[in-house]
Symmetry: C2
Subunit: 311 residues, 2 copies
């Protein structure tokens, strides 16, 4: 098996591209996939400051490395969710990576700053752990990007993640989620721009990128996510991909090319109608945003309200 | 296990309805599902003449029986596709059913009337057999309904069929097919109305309906369809349904409730732009319709053209 690019012996093959690469050309291939994604979707403009949300896993650390390799001005954000030893270990990987590459890492510790952890929040709000966690992360990612003045927030969602989420959204025809599932959510009042530069790279490619580049990452899945539907959907999609390589990519990118805009209108309308959360100021359709409601339930204490501006 | 309706011992349970039924109440349940589908989607108006396409299988014979049980004026249409022994056997089941119930069966024999069979057509046109077959059936069903003056053409597509086709259309985001996948395609110049009254009943329920009602049907799958993608998609969906009963129904009916109309506009536009096939007069975007092109290739002879009307 020879490298498609330089004809030297290959170390990895990618069936959906019908291609194999040597170590160096594979790293080049990954950078080109990210460069092309950023360019095709107009994700980041020259000179913009990027904040990448890092979990200590292969995707987010790989993304941080790739964005630096492409010369973007990018700092990291680590959110400690209080999931016992898993959080301790994942935080250590994020810190080690930042230190080794001389990069800036912003840290937010949820238990210390907000008075609850994800297991507490999940129980108190009677939400599945992944739901409470996802909502907390989305809130804190956005808040951190806005507070620290970043133009763009980047997350490490890869092709497999997007395919599994899209599959779940389509099985239920959840049109609100479908209208929000895009590699770029543009900035809006109260919202930083969100981008997913890894949507052309699969899970296996990210793992290979980290291994071949010498990036140390936490291999374990989050203990709270074991057996969730998202993971079951990945198995189904892997079986289809095995039978017909390229299925996942055509499912995800076909959605963006041919169907996404048919669902996006509802969401634009919804965003335009948001007010500000009375406790934290984040955009929300109600009185309190979902994160502040979760926090109030999990801590069992009322939240201090923002000053009424008399408007 | 007791019947939900009459509390007598049940003979079948349906997990997605969390219900079990005795023989009589199950037949009543099937009729009610069909009655409700016809009513919800405005499929058939009082007094209309219905033609049901029958293959000799459980779905189409079950549908014919159910429509008669609901007092519709419905004749059968059997299309012989020339798939060797399979066609001989399936035709015999359709004829036996019609004779036993004193119903009228219209027959069209493709080799005799059009000079080719599905295996020939598939090879000549370099199309997958299921593709050549589907296109031939759609053409002949529509032509027969128009020629014999029926108001509605009914087909036996069940919930599992619709789910598998929808799954394939969504994996590829084939927006033209998505815009046509509906339980009712309204009549239009050159097109009979097409309806699918079984979309609330699964494959297993149709098989049970036939067995419990004493309807003899061909059990074998078509030998040309073995291993096609459609069947692979059914396996995937069955695994999801097993894990989470009701997934298929919410996937299919959720599409019609929340997403279908977002794709339908393209198709209405496309239909409005069709002309007439020069050989057979059927609506087509080109000069010759797809069926006449298939026929010309399969027979290797030019088709007689319709009189030019000088327009």
């Amino acid at each position: 098996m020879k490298c498609r690019r330089c004809r030297e012996p290959a170390v990895i093959d990618i069936r959906r591209h019908n291609a194999a690469f040597c170590q160096e050309c594979f790293q080049h291939h990954c950078r080109e996939q990210v460069r092309r994604t950023i360019s095709d979707f107009d994700m980041i403009q020259p000179g913009e400051r990027v904040l990448v949300a890092v979990s200590g896993g292969k995707d987010s650390l790989g993304l941080w490395h790739l964005l630096r390799a492409l010369d973007y001005d990018v700092d990291g954000l680590y959110v400690g969710l209080g999931i016992g030893e898993y959080s301790d270990t994942s935080g250590a990987y994020a810190r080690d990576f930042a230190q080794m590459h001389g990069l800036k890492l912003i840290e937010v510790d949820v238990p210390a700053e907000y008075g609850f952890d994800v297991p507490d929040g999940s129980r108190a709000a009677k939400r599945a752990p992944c739901s409470a966690c996802g909502l907390s992360k989305r809130h804190i990612f956005n808040e951190s990007a806005m507070t620290h003045g970043y133009d763009v927030l980047a997350t490490g969602h890869n092709l497999d993640d997007e395919a599994a989420v899209l599959f779940g959204n389509v099985l239920r025809w959840d049109t609100a989620y479908l209208g929000r599932q895009h590699p770029v959510l543009p900035e809006a009042p109260g919202f930083a721009r969100k981008v997913k530069p890894l949507v052309r790279l699969g899970e296996r490619e990210l793992a290979a990128y980290c291994v071949l580049t010498g990036i140390d990452y936490i291999v374990e899945e989050c203990p709270m996510a074991v057996g969730n539907k998202h993971i079951g959907y990945k198995e189904v999609l892997n079986a289809l991909e095995e039978r017909s390589p390229g299925s996942k990519a055509s499912f995800v990118h076909g959605f963006w090319d041919h169907a996404y805009e048919r669902f996006a209108g509802d969401v634009a309308q919804e965003r335009a109608e948001l007010g500000a959360c009375r406790a934290c100021g984040a955009p929300t359709p109600g009185d309190l945003c979902a994160f502040c409601r979760l926090r109030a339930r999990a801590t069992g204490t009322p939240l201090p309200m923002l000053q009424d501006d008399g408007a």
